[in-house]
């Protein structure tokens, strides 16, 4: 299960609406628990795939280094990432899977239909290695 605060949940959906028809992206900061992550903050990131921003996203590693540093200073860890699928379902794609390398972390996808946030789903990247990795859909619990 992925637990997120209401503020985080609303923020990532709003981000997808703001960047429509392009994909938005960002990192999720929180704390690990035995049954999943409790996410306390969402950090917006620039989508560096300006060549194909309507159907691709990428966060620059240099920005990730800064996000990780910020997380440490706040006593949090990077527990996952989020991005939007403009006019596509909130389901992971083969591209999402091929480019997913943060095992044990959550990948949250929001479908944005005609500029309005629709479904938001979360997929945990399970498995121990690149060869055994798989996405498993998980419940999202929105709390205060």
């Amino acid at each position: 299960m992925l637990r997120v605060t209401k503020a985080v949940y609303e923020a990532i959906r709003a981000h997808g609406e703001e960047t429509y028809p392009h994909e938005c992206c960002g990192a999720l900061l929180g704390r690990s628990s035995p049954d999943g992550w409790q996410i306390e903050a969402a950090v917006r990131a620039d989508n560096t795939r300006t060549d194909s921003a309507h159907n691709r996203y990428q966060i620059a590693p240099a920005e990730l280094v800064k996000i990780a540093r910020d997380a440490r200073q706040r006593g949090l860890d990077i527990g996952g990432f989020y991005h939007s699928h403009p006019d596509h379902p909130a389901q992971w794609s083969q591209t999402d899977f091929a480019e997913a390398h943060w095992l044990g972390c959550s990948y949250v996808i929001t479908a944005v239909a005609n500029g309005n946030a629709a479904a938001t789903n979360s997929f945990r990247l399970a498995g121990d290695t690149e060869e055994s990795k798989r996405f498993e859909q998980e419940l999202i619990e929105v709390n205060d």
Binding site: R56, I59, P61, A62, A68, T95, E99, G104, C105, A119
Partner: protein, 107 residues
């Protein structure tokens, strides 16, 4: 120097988010890290010993791949190394799968 470990790899460092090593170069630092935590090696390097394509190593705020001396760059005790797996993705490139939404009725 300090090597920061990303969340997916802490399984192999006994949940440590940072590991201290004494090394003269980046390569030596990574070697010391993987000697102390051998299970990390396969997650960072290919069987040929090359850094996996999706693994980024940053010396402070610099991508090691773009340093003139790459992993032979000398380091000091106050430097930090960050291991950062890449993050990217996106929806299918072709055959846009329109999600269902209401279409305004027309007369």
């Amino acid at each position: 120097m300090t090597i920061f470990i990303p969340t997916p790899l802490r399984t192999y460092t006994a949940d440590k988010d940072a590991v201290e090593v004494n090394a003269a170069t980046i390569a030596a630092a990574l070697d010391e890290l993987t000697r102390a935590h051998p299970d990390l090696r396969m997650h960072l390097f290919t069987s040929e010993g090359k850094l996996r394509a999706f693994v980024n190593i940053y010396l402070n705020d610099e991508d090691v791949r773009y340093l003139p001396e790459k992993d032979a760059t000398k380091v000091s005790s106050t430097d930090t190394l960050s291991i950062i797996p890449s993050i990217a993705g996106g929806c299918p490139p072709r055959g846009r799968m329109q999600i269902q939404h209401r279409i305004p009725e027309t007369q």
